[in-house]
Symmetry: C2
Subunit: 221 residues, 2 copies
DNA sequence: TTGTGTGAAAGCTTTCACAGCA
DNA sequence: TGCTGTGAAAGCTTTCACACAA
């Protein structure tokens, strides 16, 4: 009984959602989670069930938010020291992360920034140190950084990703529009706007197609 | 025979990939696409097959990139006039899109930006007009904008999304960390960094779990 | 009565294996 | 010999329906 990938991704998001709640003690039902997320309540129950956590997670009035999110983090292996991140490329997009407050309270810590432009590294301010790009090789292993947020210009994306993999990065959030190929063992999460828009448009096209199809089936009868 | 959602999303991405190619005439094989994307070649063949496009799409040496991407766009309904987009919220992140060149050559056009801070709207420069937020109601229908890129501060996200839906937006790319609930008929694509990192960490946890499980099974024998 | 937990069924998607074509 | 195309099988995930607990 392994945990299915879609289940794990839903749970990861659910944990975040639970931690945003105002009252971490007030029970939350699967129906309420359905309302907040759009996922059907039975899917949520099944997901939680797949965790294999004990009965202290839930009562007859719903789940205990804090215990549930802890159970999720523990089963998915979200421990703070494993989740140091860095931003690579400090242009408009990359530097936007320097002032992003969402990391507080999350299991991820942003602890370094890199840019090939030494000037930019010196001018920008952040709560963590910024380095010139050639120091990646030294800093990434030293700080135990495992995840990278890639915001370099498109023409440098492939090369930079390969170097990151070499230095021990295990996951890359790719904000460039370039499709990356990396060594096995490194995971990529693609977040280009064009992909996101493409996914929306594709979903919408299916809707319209299916609606049209259903309408024509109905009219045939 | 509808097109499965995962298939549609892969095809949307494939079309983009094909359009980035240097030579739009040189045939591309499913094996080459496998190398570029990581998707197995038989999945790609099945996906293309699901399009139901004619035999002019492929030869015995592979697919014709240009014709294939056109077939994808036509079946998925990617026509230029349907895909006007706007950026909502012009802070660091939102304003990064103003200088983003990736939209050229894509089926999407960025044609407006909105921010509640009138000052910011006047100071920032872009190739398309920027408006104060209260004009959304007027401008979105007038320009036929269907997709919105949401970059407002977290505490305004929910409210803004609902207004966008009201004004006729059918798809929102949500860059805020807030989970949105919108009326049916509006699609959301969530791209918060925390979600992306969470997905990476979740996938990695499964890998490690499964590897450990396999190792222990092996050692039991 | 209102909620979770969970085998079993249904529904999708991917994978396979091989036919067919240039 | 290289490739695509595609029914059929296998493998996952979601949905259902109902048992069970407070």
């Amino acid at each position: 009984m392994g945990i299915p990938k879609p289940t794990a991704e839903r749970l990861a998001r659910l944990a975040q959602l639970l931690e945003q709640r105002s009252d971490p003690e007030a029970p939350v039902s699967s129906a309420e989670i359905e309302y907040l997320t759009g996922w059907p309540s039975h899917t949520i129950r099944k997901d939680v069930s797949a965790l294999g956590a004990g009965p202290e997670i839930s009562t007859s009035t719903g789940y205990h938010p804090q215990r549930l999110s802890q159970a999720i983090r523990s089963v998915l292996g979200f421990t703070v020291e494993d989740h140091n991140c860095c931003v690579v490329g400090l242009g408009r997009l990359g530097s936007a992360f320097l002032e992003y407050t969402g990391f507080n309270g999350s299991p991820f810590t942003l602890c370094a920034g890199f840019d090939s432009n030494v000037n930019r590294v010196e001018i920008l301010k952040a709560d963590f140190p910024l380095y010139p790009a050639f120091k990646m090789k030294e800093i990434i292993p030293r700080l135990g950084i495992r995840y990278a947020i890639l915001c370099v210009p498109p023409d440098q994306a492939r090369q930079t990703a390969l170097r990151l993999a070499e230095f021990g990065i295990v996951g890359i959030v790719n904000f460039t529009p370039v499709m990356l190929s990396v060594p096995p063992g490194v995971e990529i999460e693609q977040v280009s706007i064009l992909d996101a828009l493409g996914a929306l448009a594709a979903r919408r096209a299916i809707h319209e197609r299916n609606d049209a199809r259903e309408a024509s089936i109905r009219s045939e009868k």
